[in-house]
Symmetry: C2
Subunit: 103 residues, 2 copies
Amino acid sequence: MTAMEKVKELVESNGLVVFSKTWCSYCIRVRDLFNEIGAKGKFVQLDEEEDGEDMQFALLEWTGQRTVPNVFIGGEHVGGCDDTVRKHRREELIPMLESAGVL
Amino acid sequence: MTAMEKVKELVESNGLVVFSKTWCSYCIRVRDLFNEIGAKGKFVQLDEEEDGEDMQFALLEWTGQRTVPNVFIGGEHVGGCDDTVRKHRREELIPMLESAGVL
Ligand SMILES: N[C@@H](CCC(=O)N[C@@H](CS)C(=O)NCC(=O)O)C(=O)O
Ligand SMILES: N[C@@H](CCC(=O)N[C@@H](CS)C(=O)NCC(=O)O)C(=O)O
Ligand code: FES
């Protein structure tokens, strides 16, 4: 499986996916937010994946975003930490998580 | 110069020093805060220093803090991003920067 196939497969088979790095405070913040809301998600730690760098590059090619955290809900690209927090403040995050079946 | 000597020398000769990594949002946040306040500081990008890893280890040994950003004002260890923001909210940051002569 190529890194791109792997990334797409993770996004298609999980209602909530966050591509992340274990030691990054912004990724931890997003994780805490989803935990607080009670959403169940898949956190893919790119620094622990063998082909983590290739996956990060595939994400860049696919979404235009090269940074972590990289959040997908219901197969849709949400963005990074700021985008996610902004959606939550506008009360758009919970509805999205509910339609994706993870809340 | 050992990494520890280098770290101590930077802290002793700069009223404001932040040990940092270029791609870390928490470090960028601290930098923006100091810029907003108008304080002049030295940002040491550990990911761009040859002995960056050794310096980060020296900082751990010296301050007990292994993470970035690692902030010092007037030779005194302030802490990380959260510590710095907390000090600012309690109106203790600006006085510290003023006594250190960087504001
Ligand atoms: N505004 C973005 C910031 C994202 C960002 O700058 N992420 C950093 C880590 S905090 C990053 O991915 N740096 C490059 C890397 O780690 O490969 C967000 O809200 O997610
Ligand atoms: N609460 C701390 C968080 C510090 C933290 O976890 N920093 C991360 C980067 S965001 C870190 O240093 N990770 C280990 C590394 O990069 O070596 C703060 O406010 O500064
Ligand atoms: S690496 Fe520091 S906030 Fe992401």
